[in-house]
Point group: C2
């Protein structure tokens, strides 16, 4: 029997305990007999089914040689980093849902895991319950991955889905999402794209085998998206999603997180409401897509436990892939070309020459909105687009196409 310890008894941590204990028969059918021996939390949980497992002292876990698997569900960099590091140094394998920690210190923890014949897994840190990291690591092993394009944040996808269906403003839908518990009281990490950005940094690192710095990824959130933007999108047979993507080029990977006008028939548009989806383009398989719940107690816990089962199968044996501490230098996003949808005041007839001078040939998008119009540019480099856009007067926003 493998004994596990769960660090943190919040939403994800309590889900992890629930999944391990309630589905222990399912896990056993996969050849693993696993139970939780400790739950680390500062709090007590009187009356909780598992209250007898709670300890306040991490030393109980570290000193117990029976504990082979540690499920870290604390969130944040500290003390999660210190505890994960010490567990790995003690030869215990660690799995986590903690994207901040993986994005910040993942490479170091992977190295420590290797040095100690242990493993560090983090499936739940990207796409919640969707087995996307495992697919990239273990299934697409004969594939040269060229592009990953994901809806990686459930909160913003819920907001955009609602805005589209109800024609409501961002602020109104955000408040509703907060009331329902789909968005945090401080929603910045979600709505400004930081959460999706960290997840994309993890994906780029996994694919390139080198540490990608999330701070190098240009990140725009959804706070400027309006119902009027959706009118134009619909006119074009498109919708608007917060897309995190990376793409291989001759010079390496570029990565960007931003709202995009995607085709309504794009398979990634199957992700509505809080669902996530990740499309992977690779050289032999072409497009494949993975869809599911990107957050929530049990879906996230399920991914953590899936990792724990894998760790339990490989006690004392290092097997996990990952990336080195060497930096992956992302391609300067200003050199990458996109097509842009741009909204402007006035009329297309009056401003056509000005816009052609700024962006090259453009085509009009008329969604019947009073006092303004839209255009779509041909592919132009991000840097030259932004320089030209900033020089224009009476602009009303832009969104990248595709």
């Amino acid at each position: 029997m493998v004994k596990a310890a769960v660090l943190g008894y919040g939403t994800v941590g309590s889900g992890v305990v629930q999944v391990i204990e309630e589905n222990s028969d399912v896990i056993a059918a996969h050849g693993v007999d696993m139970h939780v021996k400790y739950i680390l939390d500062l709090r007590d949980f009187p009356g909780d089914k598992y209250e007898s497992l709670v300890t306040h002292d991490f030393e109980d876990i570290i000193k117990d040689d029976e504990v082979k698997v540690v499920c870290e569900a604390m969130g944040g960099v500290e003390p999660a980093f210190t505890f994960s590091k010490r567990a790995l140094e003690a030869g215990k394998s660690v799995c986590t849902s903690n994207k901040e920690l993986v994005a910040a210190k993942g490479a170091e923890l992977m190295r420590i895991a290797k040095e100690n014949n242990a493993n560090y897994l983090f499936e739940a840190s990207v796409g919640g319950g969707i087995p996307i990291l495992r697919t990239i690591n273990d299934a697409l092993t004969a594939e040269r991955i060229e592009c990953v394009k994901g809806i990686l944040n459930g909160t913003t996808n819920y907001i955009l889905t609602k805005m589209e269906r109800e024609g409501a403003d961002f602020d109104v839908v955000l408040k509703e999402a907060q009331d329902k518990g789909y968005a945090e009281r401080n929603p910045e990490a979600d709505v400004e794209g930081h959460d999706a950005c960290r997840k994309m940094a993890i994906l780029v690192s996994l694919i390139s085998h080198r540490r990608a710095d999330w701070e190098q990824i240009r990140t725009e959130g959804i706070t400027k998206v309006t119902p009027v933007d959706f009118k134009y999108a619909h006119k074009l047979g498109r919708t608007i999603k917060l897309i995190a993507m990376c793409q291989k080029t001759d010079k390496g990977f570029y990565a960007i997180v931003s709202p995009r006008m995607i085709d309504k028939d794009d398979p990634i548009n199957c992700a509505q409401d809080v669902f996530n989806a990740v499309l992977v383009r690779s050289d032999m398989l072409d497009d494949s897509l993975y869809y599911g719940r990107g957050a929530g107690k049990l879906p996230t816990a399920s991914a953590v436990v899936g990792d724990a089962v894998e760790l339990a199968k490989h006690v004392g044996e290092h097997f996990s892939a990952g990336w080195s501490e060497e930096a992956e230098n992302l391609v300067d996003i200003d050199s990458v070309e996109f097509s842009y949808f741009v909204r402007l005041g006035g009329s297309f007839a009056d401003r056509r020459d000005e816009l052609t001078a700024s962006f090259g040939e453009v085509s009009e998008v008329n969604a019947g909105v009073e006092g303004e119009f839209g255009v779509i540019t041909k592919p132009v480099s991000e840097g030259s687009f932004r320089t030209a856009y900033e020089k224009l007067t009476d602009t009303k926003g832009y969104i990248r196409i595709g």
Copy 2:
């Protein structure tokens, strides 16, 4: 270095050789140094890049202790079964894209693999390049899987997609698909649902851990679907797909392959043209979906090679999950309830009482088609529906809902 043999140098087999050799650097990055030592085929391939690897004699492969991995891409039950069995008995692991063989003899080959510390993998037999079996086996290890619902046949999905978009008849689109090479000259296995049925039998076996007999799965193809059916579907905000599904009940699993009217917003509807998609519903994760190319030389070969890489990592060590030779008794489909869309001649007003007597309460679907109308039933058991349907006069077909 691990040496592989490829049995059969047709479409898939030549793809397997291409993927292993052209992407050997990618595979090496996953820790596996693998090359093809033999290609078994009755034919010679003068001028082919790999002609020097071709042998006509299976004994060359069996006798060569250097060959640890055998990729079977022959198709059909014999001689693929005999060769696979002998390879496993010799302690060589085998991977395959051969769904007929896996559905017919999979359990026996898995047992022989286990007895010889070898493994038998068959990712490519279901969903082509989509890593669905690996996801079920290795990722959803903490999940109680309740339902699998898939678009598992690319040919029929291509035909239905075309019929929907162009309002064309089945026969016309089938001929076009044959001309393009998307459908076989003898299309029965695809259009009658037999191919999807075998794939569903493999999925049920994998989930239940016992051998499900494909002959027990009620299977209806798409030959009776017409452009008029799509008119009704659109009226209902739905489309028509060939769906293979299994569902857990108190009494075990039922399984069925048939055209279904699914909601246009159903995530599985992301699979257009030749693409496949599989939706898995499980107790902790809820819905997850896996999408990609379900056929084709390189996507299928990629899945075979993904298995080969896994086999190469575990030479001499049995690890693969599977199912026993004991039969899984599927629930009698006649006892399962569905809602049905039914087309009938005449008018709803005239026939309402007759239909209510047959099916219980029904609701009309008026798609403005001259001389006929449609109804939707409440959930009724398949057995009682079919008995009642056969007693009706002037019927024009039925399609299950959802």
